[in-house]
Symmetry: C2
Subunit: 194 residues, 2 copies
DNA sequence: CGAAGGTGTAAGCACTCGCTTACAACTAGT
DNA sequence: ACTAGTTGTAAGCGAGTGCTTACACCTTCG
């Protein structure tokens, strides 16, 4: 998996390898089921280095979330955000290997240390992005409800693997969800104004 | 907390005490963060008895889910099910103590042993109940999407505790969700039939 | 009564966890 | 070449995990 013969005395590369390994493992198993020994082994690195560079397992998790959500959100138009999350969630599961970055959140939120990191990350990035999609007064609440739905779908489909949702055609799911979201984001707080 | 002076040699009462303690702790902390020692201590019982009566931690979890979902679903009309779940989720959090039975699922699903128990329990009971609320062809898929939304809300609000959803007025949330659900359950697979 | 079996308890086994420590190996500056 | 500082490693600490075992207690029935 690693190209070179053996990495030697390159702190930047070591840090990056740890970050990559941690990202994959947190997405596959979640925060608490991932051990620092696993991460270090997957990165081909001694586990003591993990603590040298990241301080603790929790800080490593925060670094992974920050890295990944920057990739998914920053520099992309917010209109496509729900669809981008949904597509990732609907395609990444089932078949092997690659896990959506959001899977790391879905599998980790029930650990209090991970949840603390998540609250900040989600509020600052995802809710803020989704709230731009409506001009209703309670935009942020609606954004949270959208986020909750997407997360719930990821939870039931990708993590729990429950049928029929887990086996359903991605297009069919996307059609239902897109319709639901647009209804949810429609302005209703001013009942009749026209 | 326990009324009597000391329970003595009553296997049925011991089993019930373990079930109650486990139900509360699984809801508060989830499957993997709950230890068998905690359960036994809370029940006022030696932990070896837990294994005598339930065999393993996983079987204890299954027994708790079965016990609780019977209470929530059986003998109740399915029309009220989404609302009943939602109300529980929206009221139980925040203030102290009492946790919704569903919280045990929300906090446990990312553990593979718990997930296995959950898939069966959810499919057989919750999805089946919700699917009765629509006559669309893909009733069960829609039911799963409703379930996913309710679970997502519970996850973001009650477990994660993320604002603004966690602090939002229950009625406001219920209004949004009820509207979304009814749209989601409307028949759309036959585009124009009237 | 006295054996039998259900019920409760203390102790501990074998293992894993996050994290630390003591030390070796390498590189860079002078 | 010699020192100083950075990078890497092996070993292990202390705490906690699910689960088991050996044994004491109490009740019941022949």
């Amino acid at each position: 998996m690693t190209g070179g013969p053996r990495r030697k005395r390159d702190s930047a590369a070591t840090k990056e390898a740890l970050l990559q390994a941690a990202s994959a493992l947190f997405a596959e198993r979640g925060f608490s089921a991932t051990t620092v020994r696993d991460v270090a082994t997957r990165a081909g690195v001694n586990q003591a280095l993990l603590f040298r560079y990241f301080g603790s397992k929790q800080e490593l998790f925060a670094a992974v979330l920050d890295h990944n959500s920057t990739e998914l959100i920053a520099g992309q138009p917010p209109e496509g955000l729900p669809r981008r999350i949904l597509d990732g969630l609907l395609s990444a599961d089932q078949l092997s290997g690659e896990e959506h970055p959001i899977a790391a959140m879905l599998r980790s939120y029930s650990d209090e240390r991970a949840a603390h990191v998540l609250r900040e990350e989600l509020g600052a990035r995802y809710t803020a992005g989704l709230a731009e999609l409506t001009d209703a007064e309670d935009a942020e609440l609606r954004a949270d409800l959208v986020l909750a739905w997407l997360f719930g779908i990821g939870m039931v489909r990708s993590v729990l693997g429950k049928s029929p949702l887990a086996q359903a055609d991605p297009d069919a799911v996307a059609r239902h969800v897109t319709r639901g979201i647009s209804v949810l984001l429609e302005r209703t707080d001013l009942p009749d104004e026209r």
